[in-house]
């Protein structure tokens, strides 16, 4: 008898917890759920903190991952109120799948790419990236930072010679699936240099790497886009308006973005 009651107890509580998670209808006292590109994590936290203080609303819950991975999760039915991606490709996938209205997609910020260098590595300038034996890490071309990186190397080939990109590519020891992993390989001292967003360097601490800035005529600008999910019942527009407002500009700047 005791055994049956015990079994009934565990099965009902297990069922309860499954249903609780699945139904998960958030009461109005919780904030928005934001699905944001890894590179946007810290700035979104800061923007959300400033915004929620300003209107005394609850803080958002922020899910950060690679743009492509997030797009996949959203298409597979993950719940979020707002999606912020590091490039159009990831956003377009979610639009094409019918989960986001294409007219709702707005550019929220711009970012620049830089070359992060391990302190002490023999890389005084961009030219030195092509020196044989240097260990370069890049993001894989399946993620936005990787695509931007390819463009950047091609642009730099116009300055440092036609074979520059080929030489740098020959030095690549790893193509990482997210841009933070690129930076991790440099801050841990395993690799010498890598192409990352200027904002990533701010996020991990400017003292941990040296930064080589890209000449203006070769610079690659990343465009960050955001849009509300059609399935969301929450009001996202005021928050979207806030993050593109003048009031938010200093926060973007503080985290290494251009709003």
């Amino acid at each position: 008898m005791h055994r049956r009651r015990f079994l009934a107890l565990i099965s009902t509580s297990a069922l309860g917890s499954i249903l609780g998670v699945a139904c998960g209808t958030q009461p109005a006292t919780t904030g928005l759920t934001l699905a944001v590109a890894s590179s946007l994590k810290e700035v979104m936290q800061a923007l959300d903190a400033a915004y929620s203080t300003q209107i005394s609303a609850p803080m958002a819950s922020i899910q950060a991952a690679g743009s492509g991975a997030l797009a996949k999760q959203l298409i597979e039915g993950a719940k979020a109120d707002l999606f912020a991606a590091a490039d159009d490709a990831a956003m377009n996938k979610v639009v094409a799948a019918g989960f986001i209205d294409t007219t709702a997609v707005k550019v929220i910020a711009h970012g620049t790419l830089v070359v992060a260098v391990r302190p002490g590595a023999p890389i005084p300038d961009l030219q030195a990236l092509a020196t044989s034996g240097i260990k370069v890490v890049m993001a894989d071309t399946t993620v936005p930072a990787g695509k931007y990186g390819v463009t950047l190397l091609n642009n730099l080939s116009h300055i440092y010679g036609a074979d520059y990109a080929t030489k740098v590519n020959a030095n690549v020891v790893s193509y990482e699936t997210n841009v933070r992993a690129v930076l991790q390989k440099i801050t841990s001292g395993e690799a010498d240099a890598g192409i990352v967003y200027a904002s990533d360097v701010v996020a991990v601490g400017q003292d941990k790497v040296q930064v080589l800035t890209i000449p203006a005529d070769a610079a690659v600008i990343a465009e960050y886009v955001a849009a509300p999910l059609k399935a969301s019942h929450r009001t996202t527009q005021p928050f979207l308006d806030y993050i593109v407002s003048d009031a938010a500009k200093p926060i973007w700047a503080q985290y290494g973005f251009n709003a």
Binding site: G66, K72, K135, T142, V173, S188, E190
Partner: protein, 248 residues
């Protein structure tokens, strides 16, 4: 007994569904056309051959260097030794990767001696050895300990040399356990992901094994990701079938 087990069976269903449905889903996602296209991709070939090559090396090194350690452990029965050998198999992969970097990375010991192994194929094999070899060692220790000491003592009295004891008594009795351990280690090595990503990096043809290539492809190319998953699934299935046959 039958009565009770029929009662319990409906409670068994959720776990059964959880364990089996995702595998069926993976198979259901694929169509012959997408598999055929993905199979033609050179990046897939690179990843498959790299996995096969590194896993073969891992298996060989596990047998050559794991067996002496297992024999030693079977006799020593030191609890701390067992725990040390077991630890790598239960560590989170990221911890394993960071731990390997402290020894074999550029700033680690081998790096300071001028031989950093990070970003090399050797790093892939070391990562696989670190997480997979313990499975073989554990199984071999158990198999060796299960042999009755009296049998060996009797052989000794009857004049069998140490080599003969191994050849005719110990190896035949421990063989099944050792094979099972080796097969488990091989399966684990094939699936190694986290430590490899942190320690070896992800470069096609040199460190991007199937497990890593699947992760990359999952971001963009579903067909390639699913096809490689099915190949891994097939190999794992073969290994598990082999283990079952050995156990039977």
């Amino acid at each position: 007994m039958t009565h009770r087990s029929s009662r319990i069976s409906w409670l068994a269903l959720p776990m059964l569904a959880l364990l089996c449905l995702p595998i069926l889903g993976l198979i259901g996602q694929s169509t012959p056309t997408t598999i055929w296209q993905a199979l033609a991709s050179p990046t897939l070939h690179q990843a498959v051959w790299l996995s096969i090559g590194t896993c073969a090396a891992t298996l060989g090194l596990t047998l050559v260097f794991g067996t002496p350690l297992a024999i030693w452990m079977a006799h020593s029965r030191h609890p701390w030794l067992t725990i040390c050998i077991d630890l790598p198999t239960v560590l989170p992969p990221a911890v394993a990767g960071l731990a390997l970097l402290t020894v074999f990375g550029r700033t680690g010991w081998s790096g300071q001696l001028g031989l950093p192994l990070s970003f090399t194929t050797s790093a892939v094999i070391i990562a696989q050895l670190f997480v997979a070899a313990p499975l073989y060692i554990q199984a071999t220790v158990v198999a060796l300990r299960s042999i009755d000491d009296d049998v060996i003592a009797a052989a000794h009295i009857d004049g069998a040399t140490t080599a003969q004891q191994w050849r005719y008594i110990i190896i035949p009795l421990a063989r099944t356990g050792m094979f099972t351990g080796a097969a488990l280690a091989l399966a684990r090595a094939l699936g190694e992901f986290g430590a490899t990503a942190l320690f070896a990096g992800s470069l096609p043809g040199s460190t991007r094994t199937m497990a890593l290539a699947i992760y990359v492809a999952a971001e963009s190319d579903d067909a390639a990701a699913i096809t490689m998953s099915l190949i891994l699934l097939g190999i794992s299935l073969l290994i598990l079938l082999l283990i079952r046959r050995l156990d039977a």
